[in-house]
């Protein structure tokens, strides 16, 4: 076990905020990982990443960013070009048995054996990962996934959503400590998506570390403790979700004025204000790091200057806005620090 470096209090994890997760020992340590395919495509470039035990980590990125390659390297399906990956302290190449037996993988594509029954395929998966048969555990997994009634059905007769559940059941058959979900909710209906979110939460509560990739930003926003954004093979940001949204999330206050202004008074030059719609609206853009008292202060200042307003709106950027701007910033300025070049919502509008 690689958890000798545990920080004080790190074991009191359940139910405590994500800040404690930071103190947890890394269950996966990736350092200087690169993958260059034979076609010369650099799928991963010097990735350094630590996944904390017990967290839900969401890996976001556009198509072809390297998400699946990264997962495939950790799981042993793709051979890395350089770099090392430790899974619970075990090197994925030298100690592949110990490393792989801790991991369950749910692939993005619905790769299933068509002619096998659900029960046969989960038994196969459990055996493949070196575990003795345990019908009770497999029954629990299938019941949790509402697959118990389908256990004798051939996989080919199941719907796409059910096949996805079968893949999850296969990944959980050997009681993994780490679960990779590669686009788990791609192409599934709303109900199944909610079910899957609930399942992921239950798994996390039982101590399983979960790494998911997704296109749906709201999924990451809903589920993840931490978020990594990958683009063109580079990990451009890794942050706690709350911190990321606070740091990069822009807020915007729009004031609909009683009387249009020709220009902004000099007294308001301290504020980042913009006059919109022929002077009938004032737009104030600020970020989450600024003091919460800035809005009341602005409103008082306007009152002192005799500028009245009839309505106001506030808007907060979603994780999706943040994601799009991060990826765009990297594409526009590949060598600049990504955090420094996030445009405001108004600039993007």
């Amino acid at each position: 076990m690689g958890n000798e470096i545990v920080a004080d209090g790190a074991y009191e994890i359940r139910g405590i905020g994500v800040t404690l997760l930071r103190q947890m020992p890394a269950v996966i340590s990736i350092s200087q990982l690169t993958k260059t395919y034979a076609s010369d495509l650099k799928a991963l470039k010097h990735i350094d990443l630590e996944i904390h035990r017990g967290e839900i980590f969401a890996l976001l990125g556009p198509n072809g960013a390297g998400k699946t390659t990264l997962i495939s390297v950790v799981c042993g399906i793709v051979t890395p070009t350089t770099g090392t990956v430790l899974v619970d302290g075990h090197d994925i190449v030298r100690e592949y048995r110990a490393a792989r037996s801790k991991i369950g993988l749910v692939p993005q594509e619905l790769h299933t054996d068509m002619f096998e029954s659900v029960w046969a395929t989960v038994n196969f998966s459990r055996g493949l990962f070196g575990h003795a048969p345990n019908p009770a555990h497999l029954e629990k997994v299938l019941r949790d996934l509402s697959l118990w009634d389908k256990r004798n059905d051939k996989i080919m007769t199941l719907s796409g959503g059910m096949k996805r559940r079968v893949l999850i059941a296969k990944a959980l058959a050997h009681e993994p400590e780490i679960l990779f979900l590669d686009e788990p909710t791609a192409g599934v209906d709303v109900e199944l998506r909610r079910d899957m979110w609930a399942l992921v939460r239950r798994l996390r509560e039982s101590g399983v570390t979960i790494i998911l990739t997704t296109h749906y930003i709201d999924e990451a926003e809903e589920m993840a403790d931490r978020i990594g954004v990958i683009n063109k093979g580079e990990l451009i940001v890794v942050e706690e979700k709350v911190g990321l949204m606070k740091k990069l999330g822009k807020k915007q206050l729009t004031l609909h004025l009683l009387e249009p202004l020709a220009s902004l008074p000099l007294e308001l030059s301290d504020w980042r204000l913009a006059l919109k719609l022929g002077g009938s609206e004032i737009e104030y853009t600020f970020d989450g790091r600024e003091e919460q008292t800035r809005i009341p202060a602005l409103l008082r200042r306007l009152d002192e200057l005799g500028i009245g307003f009839k309505d106001l709106q506030t808007r907060q950027s979603s994780l999706e806005d943040i994601f799009v701007s991060l990826v765009k910033a990297q594409s526009d300025h590949p060598w600049s620090a990504p955090l420094a070049s996030v445009p405001s919502p108004s600039e993007r509008a």
């Binding site: 395919y37 037996s101 055996g127």
Partner: protein, 262 residues
């Protein structure tokens, strides 16, 4: 609950899982798996044994019908081993389910043992079924039963290894069929399955000695009737050499990840 420590040396549950999975495929297609070789063999006996064989003299003191039994078994074992093993590994590559085996704590040796072992098991079963079928048509004597089993298992394992390589090399279903149909079948027909190479003119006899199948069939036939085209020691050595070559190729495939991993 078992732990990683249990599989540090040998993942027996993993090997058993793949082995059973492959045999389950055999059971699902039991009708084709057994009926086809039995029917084909029966037809051979009707044509070569009864119709033509009755007009032919004995070969090396063995009636023609009995003489072709080892050759016919070998022909089926070659084809079955190649087909079973190549299909066994090609299918998961084709459907994508190979991801699970590649991500499992299963070593290359265990993977080969399971896939090749299952394919060889199937062809040995087919071999015995053909032997039993042959018994209905012609008298069959096995002078060296242990050697017969040893040759059968060795040849089935060798061709299953070869089939495994084929299944990893093939990029499509047509390539899977290419080697068995265009290389192995002609070599078998020309390799003394239905005649003794002593019956050939001297020139062709020399050419035949470059055909590896000659040694396999000859050794197997020796275990039945103690007569052979080439010395049994040479047969055994050639069979083992073929086995070692396939093993080396498989080792190279896993070392480089050739067409298995990107």
């Amino acid at each position: 609950m078992s732990t990683a420590a249990d599989i540090r040396r040998f993942n027996r549950y993993g090997v058993l899982a793949i082995y059973r999975f492959e045999l389950a495929r055999f059971r699902r297609t039991l009708w084709q798996s057994l009926a086809t070789p039995v029917l084909t063999t029966s037809l051979y006996f009707v044509v070569f044994g009864a119709a033509i064989g009755s007009r032919m003299g004995a070969v090396d003191g063995v009636t023609y019908g009995s003489f072709i039994v080892p050759g016919l078994i070998m022909l089926s074992v070659f084809t079955e081993s190649l087909n079973n093993a190549s299909f066994g590994i090609y299918l998961p590559r084709f459907t994508g389910t190979i991801y699970e085996v590649l991500s499992a704590p299963v070593s290359a040796f265990e993977m080969v043992l399971a896939y090749v072992g299952a394919a060889a098991t199937k062809s040995v079963i087919v071999g015995f079924v053909i032997l039993a079928t042959a018994n209905f048509f012609v008298p069959v004597h096995i002078l060296h039963p242990l050697w017969m089993i040893a040759f059968l298992v060795l040849v089935a394992s060798t061709f299953s290894l070869f089939g495994f390589i084929l299944g990893i090399w093939a990029k499509g279903f047509e390539q899977l069929q290419f080697i068995p149909m265009l290389v192995i079948a002609p070599l078998t027909f020309l390799g003394g399955a239905f005649y003794s190479i002593d019956m050939l003119p001297p020139g062709w006899r020399t050419v035949s000695l470059f055909n590896p199948i000659v040694y396999l069939v000859s050794g197997f036939r020796w275990s039945f009737y103690a007569t052979s085209d080439v010395g049994v020691g040479i047969s055994l050595a050639m069979t083992l050499a073929f086995f070692a070559t396939c093993l080396a190729l498989v080792w190279w495939i896993f070392r480089t990840g050739y067409r298995l991993k990107s």
